[in-house]
Symmetry: C2
Subunit: 431 residues, 2 copies
């Protein structure tokens, strides 16, 4: 049993801050009612958040006949969080206030000949410097930078174990970045970033069990179980794209055959288009984005080939999602990432139909399938949330009765200057 009182205290701290971000100002009494925590627990957690300067007292409200209740709000200006979305061809960076509003954005292109680790780290540092510069004094102190890299990452060591795009193996990205950036750094991948974004701000908020199906060039299923991200024993849970859907089916770049990804990732959808409309003008052979955009427009115009492609994609996607519903019995399945965003409602409708044909009745009845409601880049938002979680995790405990020995336990303690050292974070040497 690795889950300790300390873990639950951190989870409760997340939850109180989440509620405050959703509805500020509010009172401790309302927070207690909304979270199911005792007033004493809420008061302790709010005290920690006040000490961290993440929230602030903003006055009192009358309570019918009783003592006036103190009101608390997120202190949007209490600090800044930076989310970095490293993709194959670009680095996209956003700077957020503590209410998770975007204050500044920056983007750097990555050229095919510029994908060495030092080069990518340099582009990231330049974009981070740009957002800090653009936000100016509004940025205040930067509490942390979350970095998302597509691939397999070790968040405890900050190493990118494997990134298929660039054939990176064992790249110590956070160490490279720590030489360039004076902020606490947190590494993870886009699948988990999107999942955490849904958990904090999207369709998984307040849900016990949710699955976030990421549809892009690659495909994955982020698991939010028991109200938290399920990482697995080596932080690689969610590799749903390589689930066998058709034994001995289409070859996959992973070396296998018939993987879900080969039927519902963007290249897989292009393959359906080739098969269903061999001479279709919708196909842009070397451009996934242009092809998916063209498909989305053609579906809206009633094009029969485009509709057939969406239906065929949904047939595979529906079978795969049904398997997730049967296995995990989630409250909600969220379709996320750029392919889902562009194909939108027409894809959703066909997926719901296909799932209704495949899934077992009892879990089906308990699940809804929705499009992600997050209007901005979920990867940057999720990455910034990792930085926020890092800041919350680093709170020094006042009254814990339990000492943790678990793998996920923080290894350091908070330092008031914002140079926190926590599990999965790296900071620059003091200068």
């Amino acid at each position: 049993m690795k889950r300790t009182s300390r873990d639950i205290r951190t989870a409760n701290r997340y939850e109180v801050l989440r509620r405050l971000i959703a509805a500020s100002p509010t009172s401790r009494q309302e927070l207690a009612a909304a979270t199911g925590l005792s007033l004493a627990t809420v008061a302790t957690l709010v005290g920690e958040l006040l000490e961290l300067r993440l929230v602030t007292e903003v006055g009192f409200e009358d309570s019918a006949g009783g003592r006036p209740r103190g009101l608390i709000a997120v202190d949007a200006s209490g600090g800044a969080l930076i989310g970095v979305d490293i993709a194959e061809t670009y680095v996209h960076v956003e700077l957020f206030d503590l209410a998770l509003n975007v204050l500044a954005r920056a983007e750097e292109q990555l050229r095919p000949d510029g994908s060495r680790p030092e080069q990518v780290a340099g582009r990231v540092a330049a974009a981070v410097a740009a957002v800090v510069d653009r936000a100016g004094t509004r940025a205040g102190r930067v509490l942390g930078v979350g970095v998302s890299v597509p691939g397999q990452v070790d968040r405890d060591t900050g190493v990118v174990e494997y990134a298929a795009n660039w054939q990176w193996h064992g790249v110590p990205l956070l160490d490279l970045l720590a030489e360039l950036l004076p902020y606490p750094l947190h590494l993870d991948n886009p699948l988990r970033a999107c999942t955490v974004a849904e958990l904090w701000f999207g369709a998984a908020r307040g849900r016990d069990d949710a699955v976030v199906v990421n549809l892009g060039t690659g495909v994955g299923a982020g698991l939010a179980l028991g109200g938290g991200l399920h990482r697995g024993v080596s932080n690689s849970a969610g590799e749903w794209g390589h689930t066998t859907l058709v034994l001995d089916g289409r070859p996959c770049h992973c070396g296998g055959h018939g993987c879900v990804e080969t039927y519902v990732g963007a290249p897989g959808i292009m393959q359906h288009l080739r098969e269903l409309g061999p001479h279709s003008p919708l196909l842009h052979p070397d451009d996934q984005t242009a092809t998916i955009d063209a498909l989305a427009r053609a579906v809206a115009e009633g094009d029969p080939v485009a509709r057939a492609v969406v239906r065929e994609t949904a047939r595979y996607l529906g079978a795969g999602i049904s398997d997730l519903i049967n296995l995990l019995n989630p409250e909600v399945v969220v379709l996320s990432s750029w392919v889902a965003a562009r194909l939108g409602e027409p894809l959703l409708v066909e997926v719901r139909r296909a799932v209704a044909r495949h899934a077992l009745r009892r879990p089906l009845a308990a699940t809804e399938i929705v499009l992600s409601p997050i209007p901005t880049d979920p990867v940057s938002l999720g990455a910034a949330t990792f930085a926020l979680e890092g800041a919350l995790r680093s709170v020094r405990q006042r009254s814990g009765t339990t000492v943790t020995t678990g793998r996920a336990a923080p290894t350091g303690r908070a330092v008031a200057t914002g140079r926190a050292v926590a599990a999965g974070s790296r900071t620059a040497p003091s200068s």
Copy 2:
């Protein structure tokens, strides 16, 4: 966020008792070291277990130079737990002491014309009465009865929502049993019973994330995530048997096609045998058990058809297990239930080979695949464990600071006589 301090206290209480069952006698200090909990927390939990008379003080040990340490042991005679395994053709019941040793067994046959709910409840009550009678004074007070029924069950209401064997729909089995038996009753299904048995006493013990693959007539995957059973939002998680492995493949009784179960359940294995050895004497067309037994013997003797059948079964099973490993990133995958027990090592070896071909490197490296080490009927053992968990859940809290609002929260309080009323339990009216 539904997980509260109360949930974690219950989980910690499970963990302390689990350690005590594994190694009695032991000291509070050793328990603290083994669980990572503080000595103060362990002392409180041990106090609760002493009050429940589940454990007992058994003396002191010398600690080098320090004060003598009190030793605690499970009080095997402190009560009895009963596990009921209802299957298609029989009811198997075992009575355990608190160290989970079997003190008595009983079995009742179920005839095809005797499967009405009242008839099955009658057989269960007869077998329970038989084990209590056989155990005699050794049984002491019965703390609870766990009942496993194959199908979809609502543990909170004690209703069998659907049991395919007998076409039961919405059968209030615990209410029927409560009229016949004066003990706290707990309903669940064999998949979850086997998973909990592994979690407490088998290969999942002390592991963060485990998958228990049940291979019988039907097939399922019990999920033990974060050290606890993952039930899903409507207690139906684990329906892995109806995962699509071959799109448009073999028809399944669920109405779908290509489900895992149709390739690796006992009838699916018989189908491989029909295809690979059309006139094989190993096939007993109307007897799954005899066929699997014959296959196991023939494999041991080097029969090429039998070996090919095991290899073909492992090819499908390996693909399906790889998908679970990729998705969930577990520490261990346990092959359980009667088909796995009978085909044993030869199946395990082929499954490991097939998984090594299919699974992604990072999660594969973190996972081991093993046969269940539980030597007795895991369903009765797991069902008895549900009764033990029910007894632990019903402990009155002494010092909780948090009030729970979650779905899984106990709704009643412990009553010292053993007639506890807890979530998911039913008791007979006081007589």
